[in-house]
Amino acid sequence: MSRDPLELRVRRLLVALDASAHGLAGLEAAARLAERARSELVGLFVEDAGLLRLAASPVVRVVASAGAGPESMQVAEMERALRSRGDRARAAVREAAERAKLTFSFRVVRGEVTHEVVAASASVDVVVLPLGVSVLGRPDVAAETARRVSEQAERPVLLIRAGHALSGPTVVYDGSPEGARALAAAASLARHDGGVVTVLGVGDTEAAALGAAEAARGGLAVRGVAARVRTVLRPALGEVLMALGQVPGGALVLAAGARAAGVPLARLAERARRPIMLAR
């Protein structure tokens, strides 16, 4: 049997962490994926150079809590804060790897977050980024960062979210070549846990959407994966979100540069409330 050229292969998994509580919690989902694929876990923590520059400015003021007034920032304090977060991230990766009996590595670099993550992605198969919840008082890796990484990295990007599993993926498929990669990635995720893939067939018309959906069903069948299909008309953000509200949880799989499906990634990442896999 010939090998699927589009198959998602996960030999090395890069997990870029910001050491926030939800980021560390989301690490579990990445570790489970690595465990099923028997891949190596590569941890990365970026000490954001932009934050250090910010702290160096004498005019910058920081408000830590409701009880404290605006105060000046100190570079040393920022360095300590970042170092502490790096240590927590290292401990979390080690713990996750040991629990799943995975080989792992971890490094801390200082620089621009997007640049460093993109640079590190060259040596891995999949990049994992935690998606924070956009709530005040809690740091998050903004969907914007995720968008930039997904645009620049040449690897699939998995945006994980604390408390949400990857199994039972939903794929957005519009019949494009990029969509085919998304379909293959979804099939790989489903095969790992024996689940069913939900296909959201996207088209400008109902017929086109249905055609895409059926094509996806066929593509999945060839890969030995069962499918449930639904149709979504382009432009698709609202449609996709509505459809997602009616299907079981699990990762949402899109082609990278998801404009192809008419879906702005930042909004989708913010509102979909589930992990997102950007396939390429």
Partner: protein, 808 residues
Amino acid sequence: MSVRPLSPEELCIRCDPGRFAFQSTAELEPVSARVGQERAVEALRFGMGMRHDGYNFYAMGRPGAGKFTAVRATVQERAAGEPVPRDICYVDDFAASHKPRHMLLPAGKGKELKRDVEQLVEELRTVIPGALETDEFRTRKHTLDEELKGRQESALHELRARASKKGIALVHTPMGFALAPVKDDEVVPPDDFAKLPEADRKRIEEDIQALGEDVRAMLAKVPRWEQEARHKMKELVRGAMRAAVAHLLEDAKKKYAELPEVVAFLVAVEQDVLENASAFMKRDEAAGVAALLEGDEGAQLRRYQVNLLVDHSETKGAPVVFEDSPAYDNLVGRIEHLSRFGALLTDHNLIKPGALHKANGGYLLLDVRNVLLSPYAWEGLKRALLSKQIRIESVGRVLGLGSTVSLEPEPVPLDVKVVVLGERRLFYLLSAFDPEFRALFKVAVDFEDEVDRSDDHDLLYARLVATVVKDEKLRAFDRTGVARVIEHCARLADDAAKLSAHMGKLCDLVREASYWAGERGVELVTAADVERAIDTGVTRVARVRERIYEEIERGTLFVSTTGERVGQVNGLAVLELGGFAFGRPSRITARVRLGRGEVVDIEREVELGGPLHSKGVLILSAFLGARFVQELPLSLAATLVFEQSYGMVEGDSASSAELYALLSALADVPLKQSLAVTGSVNQHGEVQPIGGVNEKIEGFFDVCSARGLSGEQGVVIPKSNVKHLMLRGDVVEAVRAGRFHVYAVESIDEGIEVLSGVPAGARDAAGKFPEGSVNARVEARLEALAQLRLRLGKDKDEDKARGNGDKP
């Protein structure tokens, strides 16, 4: 003066079977065990009728007198016509779970409520999760989530927008929200900022400061927004649940509308359910003590359960409870604990009832000795009766020994009649030393030890036998069997004119006689079976008696049954071992010589004589001094000994025997060793009654029989004891055959004549005893001793006058 032996008919008042009209007890109507106990029964009825405080009972009498049976029967008769008391339940006080509340419900309602609440909780476990999983609820919950999120985002967005207009960025950093001047989306480097005009720098710094204050103000609002969101969420959940549970609870409230306390409880349940929805959602995550208690599922739901402490759904009339193990906890109840992971946990479901709970509204029967022997039980019982409530507390808590947090169940009002059963001695001791006793136990129920022997009572006893036979499915008794039982009851009473009221012994005799009839393979129990039951009963416990008699027979213990001796007589004592009494003959001897009037009781000198025995001996001196040579000092030194006695001698029943020995020694008149003597004596020489007369006579008879009855042997007893005689059949038959004799005497003079065969002698007009009589000889001897003493005293005085006195 001549004392005649008693006739066989005087030795045992037989019960004539011929006067019974029945052939067997199967024809007789059963009778209660309260025969002859009219006084006690009347006291019980009086006390039960008195509903005022403190009219509890102390039922006293000898152990085995049938107190319990009689009390229970009497109390049950009355209780059957009294109302059934309320069920006692404990429920959680949701406002203070460590203080469970009680509910007193009409009989049977407790069980019903318990079942209904269990069913209600089961339904809630289904209904509540369903209510929180509807699309409508989810949508509204999602809306609330979005509302909070939107509120926060909107505030942040507005701040960012204002900052942006002023060329300032709001950045989220690990240290908090930072405000920095930006240009072309990049933070203005410090060097560039320094190059700005003074006015611009100042403006930017002021803007940053002002925005910083705004950020702080916004952050200050976040907790309130979250609190509001949580409140709204809680209200949403409550609303959804209220709608779901309301109809279930409404149904229950309607059902118990006439019981306000139940309705109040159901309202409290409803409120608590609404506050604790999680208990119905994720049972294994319901943390805390309750989760540990339950172990796995349904943990917190235990708080809704009804602990039915006392269920009267099947009770008829007022309860009559006998607690045979009246430990403190068994009386007032206890709070049990479960051990979970090393911790001891409890809740209102682990409250267990005590006997006071079970008997509340009715009657509680207790053995007072058992209560007194159980640590703190008596105090606990009194405290409950005084306070008229049952407070469940551990002994440690009552004593202030422990401060562990535990439950404090609401005390249950107490309305109970307590009957404690026990010995008279304990009643008198409690009366004397427990100041609260008489106030709490005002009704003394005094059970007779014996009843008069009459035709009516004989027939009642026959019915009593019939009752035992019927109750215990024994063999019926024929008339002879019944008659023999009645005779034995008279023997147990130690009185031919009385019947023992010791129901325990009577029942045992009936059972054992029935057994022996069975062994014979007959259906009707006869006198022979009763006799065998009595004999075998004695045989089983008579080992010590047999050994003593054996040693007498072998000559190890000196007891003569033939011949005559001066200053020696056979006395009779009674030994009681393990409830079996038997007579033991003992040799008593007396020696006299010149002295100062002392009659020395050797038993007393070596502290083997009890006070009553010593009293008897001292009376002898008084008797001698008063009767003989009144003008001269009593000048003898006499010693009295219970030969071969190595234990305590108590009682004065041998005082007449000692006097006979003393008179014999003084008069030098031999006494017949074929006779034994019992009876006490007073200063006037009158012989007084003693106890155990039957055992004493039989004891000497057995010793004589073993050696062979000579026809001379017999026993001298006080005449006042004749009415107590209920001797064994073989003794009576021996008397009838003239081979054994029983003499009843009223005075020492009569006794000494029987024992010596010599007239005692009475003073004539000149104040002299007849020549040769015992009394004349005694007086002569005492006079001689007195004269001798006077002469010796005179000689001594003369010696002193001559200067020949003793040198110091």
